[in-house]
C-alpha cells in the first residue's frame, strides 16, 4: 500500500458562490410568485421591491465576503439564503390565508428580522478578523450564556408561553434568549475543552473496553447536567435542555475521543428524563401525545401534531403547490410546524430537498472543523454545526413523530427574530472559520534557519483593531 500526501491549494470559489446565489434568489422569487398566483391569480404588486431588497441583502454579504473573507466556504451562504427565503415565503403564504396583509403580517416582521440578521452577520464578518480572538472571551461567554439561559426565570421578565418558560418580554418584543445562549456556550465549551481535554481524555481506568474518567474529572459534565436539569424543572422545556446538554456532550466527545462520555451523558440524561416524566404532568402529556396523537381524547387536547401529520400526508410526493394547500389549519404552522407546512405544499420531494440542504450545511460545518488548524476553531465549528443539527433533529423529529414534540425553532425558517438573528450569526462565524480553514498556509520563510533562535515558530500575530 502506497500513500501520497499532498497539500491542495484551494481556489477562493467566490464566483461559484455568486452563481449559486443567483440560483437561490431565483428559487425564492419563483416560490413567492407561485404562492401569489395560487392564492390570488395575479403576480403580486410588491414583488419588485421584495425581490430587489432580498437580492441586495444577499449580494451585500457576498461582496463583504469577497472583501473580508475571500476563502470562506462557497455554499454556506447560498444554502442559508434558500432556507431563509423559503421560510419567508411560507410565512407570507400563511399571512395571505389569514388575511394579515401589509405591515400587519408576520412576513413583514420576518423580513425586518431577516434584514437585521443579515446586517448582524455582515457586522460579525467585518468585526471579527480571526475567530481565535473569541478564545479570550471564554469565561465571559460562559457568564453570558448562563445568564441568558436563566433569564426567563427572572420574575417579571420571563414569560410562560405554551407551557414553557423560555421567553422574556422586553416591551413589545418577545425574545428567546436561549438562541443566543447557544452561541455563547459553544464558544465557552470550545475554549474550555481545548484547555482541559488532555486531562479529560488521558486519565482513567479501562472497564469493558471503555476508558472511564476519574471521579474528579466528572465535575464539568455534572455542572452541565445540573444546568440542563434546572432548565427542565423550572422552564419545563425538554427541547432546550436536550439541546444544551447534547451540545456539551458532543463537544466533550469531539475534544477527547472518548465514547465513554457519550455513555455517561446518555445515562445522566436518561435519569433526568425519567425523573421529569414521573414528576411533571406537562411531560407526561407530551409523551402521551407523541405515542398516540390520533386518539379521541388526545385530539381534543391538542390536535396540532395530528394536523401536521395529515398535512404532510395530503402533500404526497410533489405537494399541493405553494398556496394551494391548507397548512393554516395546524396551530403554529409558521413557527414550530413550518416544516410540515412546507411538507404539505412542496411534497416529499420538496421536504427532502430542504433536509438535504440542512445536511449539506452541517457537512460544510464539519468539513470546516476538520480543515481548520487550531483546536479552538475546530471545537467551535463543530459546536456551532452540532447545535444547528441537533436543534433541527429535535424540532423536525418532533413534527414527524420520531421523538416527543418540544418547541424549538427550525433554524432559518421559523417565524421569530431571536432565532433568525442567532442563526445568521452562526453562519457568519462558520464563514469566518472556514475562511481560515481554506486559506493556503503561509509559507515558512526560508534561509534564516540556523542562526535565528526560533525561525520555524512563525507565530501569527493576532492584533485587535
Amino acid at each position: 500500500m502506497t500513500t501520497t500526501v499532498e497539500q491542495l491549494t484551494p481556489r477562493t470559489r467566490r464566483n461559484s458562490e455568486l452563481g449559486l446565489l443567483v440560483l437561490a434568489i431565483g428559487i425564492v422569487l419563483l416560490a413567492w410568485v407561485t404562492t401569489d398566483l395560487n392564492r390570488n391569480g395575479t403576480v403580486p404588486a410588491n414583488i419588485i421591491p421584495i425581490a430587489g431588497g432580498f437580492t441586495v441583502l444577499v449580494l451585500s454579504v457576498h461582496v463583504v465576503l469577497r472583501w473580508k473573507a475571500a476563502y470562506a466556504d462557497p455554499v454556506l451562504l447560498p444554502i442559508a439564503t434558500v432556507l431563509n427565503g423559503l421560510g419567508l415565503v411560507m410565512i407570507h403564504r400563511l399571512d395571505l390565508a389569514r388575511g394579515k396583509l401589509g405591515t400587519d403580517g408576520d412576513a413583514y416582521r420576518q423580513i425586518i428580522w431577516t434584514t437585521l440578521g443579515v446586517a448582524l452577520a455582515i457586522a460579525v464578518i467585518i468585526a471579527l478578523r480571526d475567530h481565535r480572538l473569541l478564545r479570550r472571551y471564554t469565561y465571559v461567554s460562559m457568564a453570558v450564556g448562563f445568564v441568558l439561559l436563566l433569564l426567563p426565570l427572572v420574575p417579571g421578565l420571563g414569560q410562560t408561553i405554551n407551557g414553557s418558560q423560555i421567553w422574556i418580554s422586553l416591551g413589545p418584543l418577545n425574545f428567546q434568549p436561549g438562541e443566543f445562549a447557544k452561541i455563547a456556550l459553544a464558544i465557552f465549551f470550545a475554549g474550555y475543552l481545548v484547555q482541559t481535554r488532555d486531562v479529560l481524555s488521558l486519565a482513567g481506568k479501562r472497564v469493558l473496553g471503555f476508558t472511564f474518567p476519574r471521579g474528579r474529572d466528572l465535575g464539568p459534565i455534572l455542572v452541565a447536567w445540573l444546568l440542563a436539569v434546572l432548565i427542565l424543572v423550572f422552564q419545563k422545556d425538554l427541547g432546550t435542555a436536550l439541546l444544551f446538554f447534547g451540545l456539551f456532550v458532543a463537544m466533550l466527545y469531539v475534544a477527547t475521543e472518548r465514547v465513554s462520555w457519550i455513555a455517561i451523558g446518555l445515562l445522566l440524561f436518561g435519569v433526568a428524563v425519567f425523573f421529569a416524566l414521573s414528576a411533571f404532568t406537562h411531560f407526561q402529556k407530551r409523551v402521551d401525545l407523541w405515542l398516540d396523537p390520533f386518539s379521541p381524547q388526545n385530539l381534543e387536547r391538542s390536535n396540532q401534531l395530528a394536523n401536521g401529520l395529515w398535512g404532510m400526508a395530503s402533500g404526497g410526493l410533489t405537494g399541493t403547490g405553494l398556496g394551494a394547500g391548507r397548512p393554516w389549519l395546524t396551530s403554529f404552522a409558521e413557527s414550530d410546524f413550518i416544516f410540515s407546512s412546507l411538507g404539505e405544499e412542496l411534497g416529499l420531494f420538496g421536504s427532502v430537498a430542504i433536509l438535504v440542504l440542512y445536511l449539506i450545511f452541517c457537512e460544510r460545518g464539519v468539513r470546516t472543523a476538520l480543515g481548520v488548524r487550531d483546536g479552538f476553531g475546530k471545537l467551535l465549528a463543530i459546536g456551532l454545526t452540532f447545535s444547528v443539527a441537533f436543534q433541527l433533529f429535535i424540532v423536525i423529529g418532533g413534527v414527524t413523530r420520531v421523538i416527543p414534540l418540544t418547541g424549538l425553532t427550525t433554524p432559518f425558517m421559523s417565524l421569530g427574530g431571536s432565532s433568525l438573528l442567532a442563526n445568521w450569526v452562526i453562519v457568519a462565524l462558520l464563514l469566518r472559520i472556514s475562511d481560515q480553514a481554506r486559506r493556503p498556509m503561509p509559507e515558512i520563510p526560508v534561509g534564516v534557519a540556523s542562526d535565528d533562535p526560533s525561525p520555524a515558530e512563525v507565530t501569527q500575530v493576532v492584533r485587535m483593531s
Binding site: T2, T3, T4, L30, F349, V446, S450
Partner: protein, 207 residues
C-alpha cells in the same frame, strides 16, 4: 391562471430546488483543500509498473527504471539506491505515467521524501520550495502518528547557500532527529539516500 401553468410552476419549483442541490454538490466535488491522502492498491501500482516498463522498453535510453511496483514501499527501497527516479510518488490525480520530477535537475538532488519504516510506511511527499514541516501537529505536511515525535519535530527546506540542495533541521524536538546514528544539532544538508529517524519512523530522501 390556468391549471396547467400552476402545475408547471409547482413542478418547476421542485426541479429548481433539486437543480440547486446538485449544483451545490458539484461545487463541493471540486472544492478540495487541506491535505489529501490517496491510497493506491497494489493492483493499480502493478498496472502502472507494467505500463512504465513498456514505455522504458520503447525509449531509446532506458533512463527511468520503474520502481515502487507491486511490492509497494519495499520494492521502492530496493530500486531507489540505483539513483533511478522512483515512481512511488507519481501523482495519482493526473494519471501521468512518467515521473514528473527528476528531469532537468542535477544528479543527487532529492525530490521526494519516503517513509520507509513506522506506521506511515509507504507514504511519499514531494519536496517543495516552501519547505516541509514534519511532526505530530495536524498543520505539518507530514503528520506523524508516533508517540516519540514532537508536535513540530523537524523541517526540510531548500539550502539557501547551495542551489538545488536541501537541508534538514531539528526544531527543538524532545527525542531528537537522527541521521544514521548522529543526533542532529544544527541544520545539515541532505542528499539522495539520506535516512532520517524520528522516533519509530524512518524517512528516506529519494531522487
Amino acid at each position: 391562471m390556468s391549471e396547467l401553468t400552476l402545475t408547471l410552476l409547482r413542478l418547476g419549483l421542485l426541479a429548481l430546488l433539486w437543480i440547486f442541490i446538485f449544483s451545490v454538490v458539484a461545487v463541493l466535488r471540486t472544492d478540495l483543500y487541506g491535505t489529501s491522502v490517496s491510497r493506491r492498491g497494489q493492483r493499480k501500482a502493478a498496472k502502472r509498473q507494467a505500463k512504465e516498463q513498456r514505455k522504458a522498453a520503447r525509449a531509446p535510453q532506458p533512463v527511468a527504471v520503474a520502481a515502487g511496483g507491486a511490492g509497494g514501499a519495499a520494492a521502492g527501497v530496493a530500486a531507489a539506491g540505483a539513483g533511478a527516479p522512483a515512481a512511488v510518488s507519481a501523482p495519482v490525480a493526473d494519471g501521468a505515467p512518467a515521473p514528473r520530477w527528476g528531469r532537468g535537475r542535477s544528479k543527487g538532488t532529492p525530490t521526494t521524501l519516503v517513509v520507509t519504516e513506522g506506521p506511515l510506511t509507504g507514504t511519499t511527499l514531494p519536496l517543495r520550495s516552501g519547505g516541509l514541516l514534519i511532526g505530530r501537529n495536524p498543520e505539518c505536511a507530514l503528520v506523524l502518528d508516533d508517540d516519540y515525535a514532537s508536535g513540530r519535530h523537524c523541517r526540510i527546506y531548500p539550502d539557501p547557500t547551495n542551489r538545488g540542495g536541501w537541508v534538514v533541521e531539528d526544531l527543538g524536538s524532545t527525542n531528537g532527529t537522527f541521521i544514521g546514528r548522529d543526533k542532529l544539532t544544527s541544520a545539515r544538508p541532505v542528499e539522495i539516500g539520506t535516512t532520517l529517524r524520528i522516533g519509530k519512523t524512518v524517512l528516506e530522501l529519494r531522487g
